[in-house]
């Protein structure tokens, strides 16, 4: 028997497509959110931060269950989506993207948030005194200094979305080329006692995860080093 079949290749391409779409969208959403939260001073801040961190600790099935409810045509979101696109969110790629966005949000938010909070606010005052607008300050001063945080946020949300299982199982089901991602395909192979294929997929995912993390740590480590030497100049 073949170790790799078309279903598997479809699952791989679907998984990476989902991860790519999710992480790009997440960066766009989370960047302004993290910047706002980093500069926000309010007694409700810890409350809001813990809401955004919930997907870190919540069982994915709990998240998936609530999403499934929200996606049903009886709910406001599901009805609105049905009106707009003529299809339901549940068991669709769009639904998976929405679920992944929520599921991976803390992984994009945390690095950016801590990157922004660690940035010396004096830089912003200097930029203001030099005549920079807030938007210009963000793109010319803040983002270049937080490049590492942006890359780590992207990498972590990508890798985390690739490893998604529980949420997909609840809201996506197991439709090849539409919602059957790698982890689900693997589960199916094991159920069918196709251990060789399961081995191939497991090993593939293991190697991918390891390489992704190694790259991120290496990159972050390099940046840390330069952050440390900058501190020496400042003091």
């Amino acid at each position: 028997m073949e170790y790799v079949n078309t279903d598997m290749l479809n699952a791989v391409s679907l998984t990476f497509k989902l991860a790519l779409v999710t992480s790009v969208l997440l960066l766009l959403i989370v960047m302004p959110l993290a910047w706002f939260l980093a500069n926000w001073r309010h007694s409700a801040k810890s409350f809001v931060l813990s809401i955004f961190a919930l997907p870190l600790v919540l069982p994915p099935t709990v998240l998936g269950f609530y999403l499934l409810i929200a996606f049903s045509p009886e709910s406001a979101l599901g009805a609105w989506w049905l009106d707009l696109f003529g299809s339901t969110l549940a068991f669709s790629f769009e639904g998976l993207v929405l679920g992944s966005l929520i599921y991976s949000l803390p992984f994009a938010l945390q690095p950016l948030y801590s990157g922004f909070t660690q940035l010396n606010k004096g830089y912003l005052e200097v930029a203001t005194s030099l005549g920079f607008s807030p938007l210009e300050t963000f793109f010319r001063i803040v983002l270049p200094q937080c490049k590492a945080a942006v890359i780590v946020a992207f990498g972590l949300s990508f890798a985390h979305t690739v490893g998604e299982f529980g949420v997909v199982l609840m809201i996506g089901g197991n439709i090849p080329t539409e919602t059957q991602v790698l982890s689900i395909a693997l589960y199916e192979q094991v159920e069918a006692l196709e251990y060789e294929r399961a081995h191939v997929m497991s090993l593939g995912l293991l190697v991918f995860s390891f390489v992704a993390l190694a790259l991120l740590y290496r990159f972050d480590g390099n940046k840390r080093h330069s952050a440390v030497s900058q501190h020496r100049v400042d003091s």
Partner: protein, 408 residues
């Protein structure tokens, strides 16, 4: 036309700084000093507009206020805060993006702040003092109307620091700039400031001409928190002195030593001062079109200068019979004075005595004889001596003494 041209600042930030300061029309270089935590930085931050809760009312001199809409206030902190993602040139380039029309060129700023050689360096590789110099250059390249310096030169060696202050002073003189400078180094401020602000306990305690503010600082005990008070004396350059044999140098001599020594006349008495310890007093009218080598050219005869003398550098001699030209001592400078106020220090400076000396103005002798006491010049000199010497010499008020000091 001369209507309300003074710079006036009224600042209130609850619990941190409060007060009002109005400056002379001609003041372009304003020194701000005071004990740590007194609110000096808050004062500057209020003016810069960084404190949202602060109430600030400011009226700027007319030549600045006419373009109030885009009044540019630059600020340089003690922390240089150079943008680390670009190099020195990149930092200056970013500052150039929104530069005002009268901003000086990058080359001029780099030369003036002694950092031309750093232009291609990365920010990581700069030392603390180098980074501070670049930070000032960056602020100047942006072309501010007001430049606030919050201990921005603290890590720079004194020789270079004086050079940069002189450069800023020149920019101020050409009306390009008004500087408000916070520093703990009272000597630097005394040499360059047109007016001085003393901030004490969150209040603007004294504003005005430097010697008046120094006197006011006594009342607040501000001197005790400082190492030593300094006096400021106005003088006129006589000539440059060759390092060897005390020969008088040609005025256009291309003598290229770092510290030239000048003979100057102050209150009818001759003093010997190194170039580092004096600053030329220029009328605030001429433009700064002077060539770059002006820095190395000796001062011309008759140039008015300002000297500051640290109290700890002054020693007291009760033998007033000798002339000041006596050369048995290595200390060349001797001013005949009368002892004025005598202050015994307490707390951590116990065992020391501060004398306020009235300098005898020999140049005024004869012309002003009808007024009694007119020989004692207004501007004081300070001396810190040990209580032991004070008692051994049996010093007392109104006693004539010779104050000896060096101005290296």
């Amino acid at each position: 036309m001369n209507y309300s041209m003074n710079l006036s600042l009224n600042v209130a930030l609850h619990g941190r700084i409060e007060g009002e300061a109005t400056f002379c029309e001609t003041s372009r270089f304003i020194g701000i000093t005071g004990p740590s935590g007194a609110g000096k930085s808050s004062f500057l931050r209020c003016i810069a507009g960084f404190e949202k809760e602060a109430k600030v009312r400011a009226s700027w001199p007319s030549q600045i206020a006419s373009k109030e809409a885009q009044l540019k206030i630059g600020i340089v902190f003690q922390q240089p805060l150079l943008f680390p993602h670009v190099n020195v040139q990149g930092n200056l380039g970013l500052a150039r993006r929104h530069a005002s029309k009268n901003a000086i060129s990058i080359e001029e700023a780099l030369t003036g702040c002694c950092c031309s050689h750093l232009v291609h360096k990365s920010i990581d590789s700069l030392s603390g003092g180098e980074a501070q110099r670049v930070a000032i250059a960056r602020a100047l390249v942006n072309g501010p109307d007001i430049l606030l310096l919050d201990e921005s030169l603290s890590a720079i060696d004194s020789q270079t620091r004086r050079k940069i202050y002189r450069f800023l002073h020149k920019l101020c003189a050409s009306s390009l700039l008004t500087c408000l400078v916070v520093s703990h180094d009272i000597d630097d401020l005394l040499l360059f400031s047109d007016e001085l602000v003393y901030i004490h306990n969150g209040n603007i305690a004294a504003v005005g001409e430097v010697n008046n503010v120094i006197q006011a600082m006594f009342q607040y005990g501000g001197m005790e928190s400082m190492e030593t008070p300094s006096a400021v004396i106005d003088a006129v350059v006589e000539h440059l002195i060759e390092p060897e044999a005390g020969k008088i140098a040609e005025p256009d001599s291309s003598l290229n030593i770092a510290n030239k020594v000048y003979s100057v006349m102050a209150l009818g008495q001759r003093l010997y001062v190194s170039e580092k310890s004096l600053t030329p007093v220029s009328a605030y009218s001429h433009t700064s079109s002077e060539s770059k080598d002006a820095e190395n050219k000796p001062l011309t005869n008759g140039q008015p200068v300002r000297i500051s003398i640290k109290a700890s550098d002054v020693s007291i001699d009760t033998n007033v019979s000798g002339t000041s030209e006596q050369t048995t001592s290595s200390i060349l400078n001797a001013l005949t004075c009368h002892i004025g106020d005598i202050t015994f220090f307490d707390s951590h400076q116990q065992g020391r005595v501060l004398l306020t000396l009235g300098i005898q103005d020999t140049s005024a002798q004869g012309s002003d004889n009808d007024k009694n006491g007119s020989q004692i010049h207004q501007e004081p000199l300070y001396a810190v001596i040990s209580a032991l010497s004070f008692h051994r010499l049996a010093l007392e008020r109104n006693m004539p003494v010779v104050a000896r000091f060096k101005l290296l």
